[in-house]
Amino acid sequence: MPNIKELNDFTTQVRRDIIRMVHKVNSGHPGGSLGCAEFFVSLYQEILETKEGFDMDGIGEDLFFLSNGHISPVYYSVLARSGYFPVEELNTFRLLNTRLQGHPTTHEGLPGIRIASGSLGQGMSVAIGAAQAKKLNNDDHLIYSLHGDGELQEGQNWEAIMYASAKKVDNLISTVDLNQQQIDGSTDDVLPMGSLKAKFEAFGWIVIDIEKGNDIEAILKGMAEAKSLTGKGKPVCVLLHTVMGNGIDFMMHTHAWHGKAPNDEQLANGLAQNPETLGDY
């Protein structure tokens, strides 16, 4: 049984990492990062079956692809604290010559990253390709991917969503971070997308909701259900209902912190709400 308290403590530390990284360089994307902290911690600490070390091909292990690359702070923090690279390297986020580029990339050889993302809407196609490679390799491990909800406004997603069900890519679990926010406002204000559940189902996917997307127990339960639904001839979509900026009260429920760094005072406030657990880098 997973130790939920330990996972929550891990998440608290990740929140600290996120706002400290973004504050230091006065740039980056804290809102979506905080909203997905519990998901990333659950994924890398409990869900993904991975091998020791890192290689690009990832044969014989589960793979994860981040499509909405701007939430790199949470990705980097969780990768570092899961052993992919030294935690101290979080100090280099967005600095010249860093492996921790503003958006994730393979270009600087950072362990854990298998594709560049940042220009939105490309990750699902990549995840599908990796899933089809797994089938060709008779590798029964799974592909996981994460997408922003606003990101689904990019048309390439719908090419990919249509293809995945048509080609029975049933070793893929694509999660949508349903925080209902994007840069210019709420998704309903910018471009209402209606029911994503109905849309994915109409495109032939199995869809499940995780209503409490910032609750680790709920995430683990929901993702276990998602995993149980793989291998049945259809791709699986998880609608993860999250709160942007979760865990730092003044950043929650707004798009305002999508791509904005906290000032000194705001950082202190945010850190006070999230006491150190694993040790700051």
Partner: protein, 317 residues
């Protein structure tokens, strides 16, 4: 002067199809993807022999490029097939981020490049693709000249680890390179020796350059014809060695003069040995409907145009 003849004409896209089929038999990691143009890309033989390694994507080129990038993760060597227009401009950002920046081993195989696509007109006749592709860091750009060379290039790029843009076309053109050639990426092929002018050509214009060299020879002008099948990385040395002898150069390509082979050659010459150069290429224009021969004549992309350019450039020496 060495002369070239041919007994058969074939389309370069069929060379791609034959190369892909051979790869299907020899390299189990090669997979192929197509966006609803199997017949046009001549991919049937590979598909018939390796149905499990073929992915019909449908009319969704952006998705095809992303899936190709993903297939490399797991050790596959994906060859994507569609028209040059839909292989480049339509999917530039997907290629840029998911393939080039990510360093993925994808082979972007593009047919119906340039004006010789013919009657379908400018919507399908891309004349900007070499420029788009050569600007991407790390992207290799290859435009072979005939069936045999396209087949050899297709086979060769599977052994190269990294993204490649392979450009070929629709019309039947003379087969004049050897069937057993070894294709070396980045290595220019000198076809004739000459002392008065260097003609570097790529793709369908290589045969036209050879035809031009015969006419020039009869007029007492000795032309050195070089086949530049790889536009990036460019064989700087072959070009510089030749112009050291001839003192002037004509570049010939089925592409806009902006962004094409000619510009790449001009950069090398400007930096190392400023040399008079004339460009046989389209002049910042879209194409139009017509037969390939009509279009190549109207837009000045045939042996006559090369002869004319040579006479102009020699006067500038």
């Amino acid at each position: 002067m060495k002369t070239y003849t041919y007994t058969e004409k074939k389309d370069t896209r069929s060379g791609f199809g034959a190369g892909l089929a051979e790869l299907g038999r020899t390299n189990p990691n090669v997979v192929a993807l197509c966006a609803d143009l199997i017949g046009s890309l001549k991919m049937n033989e590979f598909i018939d022999e390796n149905p499990e390694r073929f992915f019909q994507i449908g009319i969704a080129e952006a998705n095809m490029m992303g899936i190709a990038a993903g297939l490399t993760i797991g050790g596959k060597i994906p060859f994507t097939g569609t028209f040059a227009n839909f292989s480049t401009g339509r999917v530039y950002d997907q290629i840029r981020q998911s393939i080039a920046y990510s360093g993925k081993n994808v082979k972007i195989c593009a047919s119906h490049a340039g004006l010789t696509l013919g009657e379908d007109g400018a919507t399908h006749q891309i004349l900007e693709d070499i420029g788009l592709m050569k600007m991407l860091p790390g992207m290799v750009v290859i435009n072979p000249c005939d069936y045999n060379q396209t087949k050899a290039a297709t086979i060769a790029i599977a052994d190269y680890d990294g993204p490649v843009y392979l450009r070929f076309g629709r019309p039947s053109v003379p087969i004049f390179t050897p069937a057993d050639q070894k294709f070396e990426i980045g290595k220019a092929v000198q076809l004739t020796e000459g002392t008065d002018v260097t003609i570097v050509a790529t793709g369908h214009l290589v045969w036209e350059a050879l035809e031009a060299s015969k006419v020039l020879n009869e007029a007492g002008i000795s032309a050195e014809v070089i086949n530049i099948h790889t536009i990036k990385p460019l064989d700087d040395k072959a070009i510089l060695d030749s112009v050291a002898k001839t003192g002037c150069i004509v570049t010939a390509e089925e592409h806009n003069h902006l962004g094409g082979l000619g510009e790449s050659v001009a950069r090398v010459l400007a930096q190392h040995k400023p040399t008079p150069q004339e460009f046989v290429a389209t002049n910042d224009t879209f194409g139009e409907s017509g037969t390939p021969a009509q279009l190549m004549e109207k837009y000045g992309l045939n042996s006559d145009a090369i002869v004319k350019a040579v006479k102009t450039v020699i006067k500038r020496k």
